[in-house]
Subunit: 410 residues, 2 copies
């Protein structure tokens, strides 16, 4: 009931490193992406309240429940901050730049000093002014061909990798000595203007800005006859945050099972081993069973609740929740010492986007103090014993319930 | 219920500036001053629980409810921190000095470098010792006459303005180059001592201390035959805090409707446009209707719940709550996209003063996730989905519900 500080401030990683210890107990963290919702105007019930979900409700009965804020009240999290907070990292401190996020999204392996930028193919008119910032959304195939052309550009001082994403989007990775992410964008963010020159934002970024500008100059030559994709715009130059791995903070051996590359990339960023995931929740849980003896922390990602929410399809989101519920016996049979079910943010079908609403949470273990919650839903979890709390508190709770934390102080 | 850091720490203004965007939606913030209370010994019901307030209760049914701590649990806020917190400013960081608060209270327009001090007329005996710190509470008329005398004092290095407040209280404003608020008080805070010499508290405050001491020396001459008001005491030298305007943080065009000067001054301090308020809640709401198209954020201040609470008049405070309830249809007819009703602090009639008790809060919008609260009261709001939370989280929530915030992170 009392407003508390987030644990990275209250019990920081330095303390957590000292308190944590290895033990045979296992923690399973199931993230149902975008699980929180809003009431349907006809029924007054949210997607979770509308779904038939006997397994999730049974877990709720045996769990400590609550509602999490991934970032803070009112703030709508992207996928990266939503997940990082649950993994225990202050999502404001460990902010992921756009270039890095895009690279994670295509499973590109970034080295610690690599600089990644998000690229768009765009259209310039004869005077060099941007007439379309997405080059009319060219096909992914054309994108791949143009990225191969750009990949042949060589600039002294860095290796340059150009990796296609989808439609007009790609990633540029600069690899070399003495680079810095502190450079501006070339994307003018509106049409009718020329692409901007990349400016260094600090003295040590001079070299990076020169390399990026030379790449852009070459790109213009290479693409000159490729209208509408006759130029590129770069933005969000960034480097992997210097993030301490979970093995170091919690002495865990963590593994991730996720179908989508973005989530595998995030897991890798915090030091998780990425396991095979197949392409369905059943295959994900088969993988969990197969590797269960080899790790002591498992992050399992279930995507489609978010996808259907973003589609604005209330009924399909309800079905996605029912799908994960039906698959749960394949997880429950392992009887993990600590089982956590939550989401990285809400994605109400009514809004068709990520939202700021807090997310239902439950933690089941032999040692949790269960509350009176009997259903996994927004309204029911709000009355749980955890109340509403910052997602960064989940990991200390998980570790405690796994009996993997020594006591603090004499 | 809400364990969280205040947003100015977690999502600071730097982030908020990037996330916020302008849109046509409108936010209306109604502050019922001192609305929170304590149970009446006979009935066990608070002022809010005793009032007939169908409109407030109807809003509660459609709202997300909770209890706010303006500063932090146990801390009784003055009016300035109570309001600043609701406007999104950390009230500890943006502390308002006593001199500035007094100047705001008479609607004095302070320039950014002006130094304001609170003044008291006092009585000195023949040995120059203070015998009465308030000069027997002289009349406001006499105060005004003596301030005119003091206003004729000229001191090299600064323009000096002396503005009467009420009874023995006045404000001195120093305006000039190279002044500093870092000087001590002349008020010895007890009788039987002489007024203190004003001491510079930092080297750059030397000039200000000299000017203040010269003013005090002249004041003693001017007032020598005005017993009991034969001298003045100064304290709380301060400067307007350097506070970023709401237009810059939230990209809002904010306006204030408040009858009392203190609240207009606070609103001006955070960059609100002060609109005509008349002298009743009905006239305030008429003004809201008249200007509704021209701004996208409205702060409406209703004072008398606090006044009656400070009078210790339980029944009159109940009536004040019923008065604002009756006036509400004039606000509800506008159907603002986001409507917030709360108070800047509690003023229980049982205590006859501001108190530390958390304050009922409700936020209604198309996109809030309503809870099961059906009444606007301390007890009912405590069970709301927001639980208990810091008042500084209100603005991010308001912005989110008005769909005026982009998502955070990739």
């Amino acid at each position: 009931m009392l407003p508390r500080k987030i644990p990275d401030a209250m019990i920081g990683f330095e303390h957590m490193k000292k308190l944590s210890r290895t033990s045979p107990s296992r923690i399973v963290l199931l993230i149902i992406d975008g699980v929180g919702g809003l009431p349907h105007p006809q029924t007054g019930k949210t997607e979770l309240e509308s779904a038939r979900k006997p397994n999730l409700n049974q877990i709720a009965k045996e769990s400590l429940c609550g509602l999490i804020d991934p970032v803070s009240p009112g703030i709508t999290p992207g996928s990266a901050p939503g997940h990082l907070a649950i993994f225990g990292y202050d999502p404001v401190k460990y902010n992921i730049g756009r270039g890095v996020a895009e690279a994670l999204g295509i499973d590109a392996k970034l080295k610690p000093d690599d600089i990644a930028a998000r690229g768009n193919f765009c259209t310039l008119d004869s005077q060099g002014l941007v007439t379309h910032r997405r080059a009319g959304r060219i096909s992914t195939e054309k994108n791949a061909r143009l990225c191969r052309l750009l990949g042949d550009i060589t600039v002294e001082g860095a290796d340059i990798f150009v990796l296609p994403v989808k439609e007009h989007r790609f990633v540029v990775i600069l690899r070399g000595e003495g680079l810095s992410p502190e450079v501006g964008d070339s994307d003018p963010q509106q049409i009718g203007l020329p692409p901007k020159k990349i400016e260094p934002l600090s003295p040590q970024a001079q070299k990076t800005a020169e390399i990026a500008n030379e790449f852009l100059s070459e790109a213009r030559t290479v693409l000159r006859s490729e209208a509408p994709a006759n130029m590129v715009l770069l933005r969000g130059f960034s480097r992997r945050p210097d993030i301490p791995p979970m093995s170091e903070i919690y002495k865990l051996k963590p593994a991730a099972i996720a179908i989508y590359p973005m989530y595998r990339g995030l897991a890798r960023l915090v030091g998780m081993r990425v396991l095979p995931a197949g392409d369905s929740i059943t295959e994900e849980l088969n993988s969990l069973n197969r590797y269960y003896a080899d790790y002591d922390f498992f992050f399992i990602h279930f995507k489609s609740a978010d996808t259907k929410g973003e589609d604005g399809d209330f009924r399909a989101k309800v079905q996605a929740i029912e799908e994960i519920d039906s698959a749960l016996p394949g997880l429950l049979s392992l009887n993990p010492d600590v089982l956590i079910v939550t989401g990285d943010h809400s994605t109400p079908a009514a809004l068709s986007m990520h939202s700021w609403h807090p997310v239902p949470f439950m933690l089941r273990s032999k040692w949790c103090r269960p509350d009176d919650v009997t259903e996994f839903s927004e309204r029911a979890c709000q009355a749980g014993a955890m109340g509403r709390f910052p997602a960064t508190e989940i990991m200390p709770l998980a570790m405690a319930n796994a009996l993997k934390l020594d006591r603090f102080g004499a």
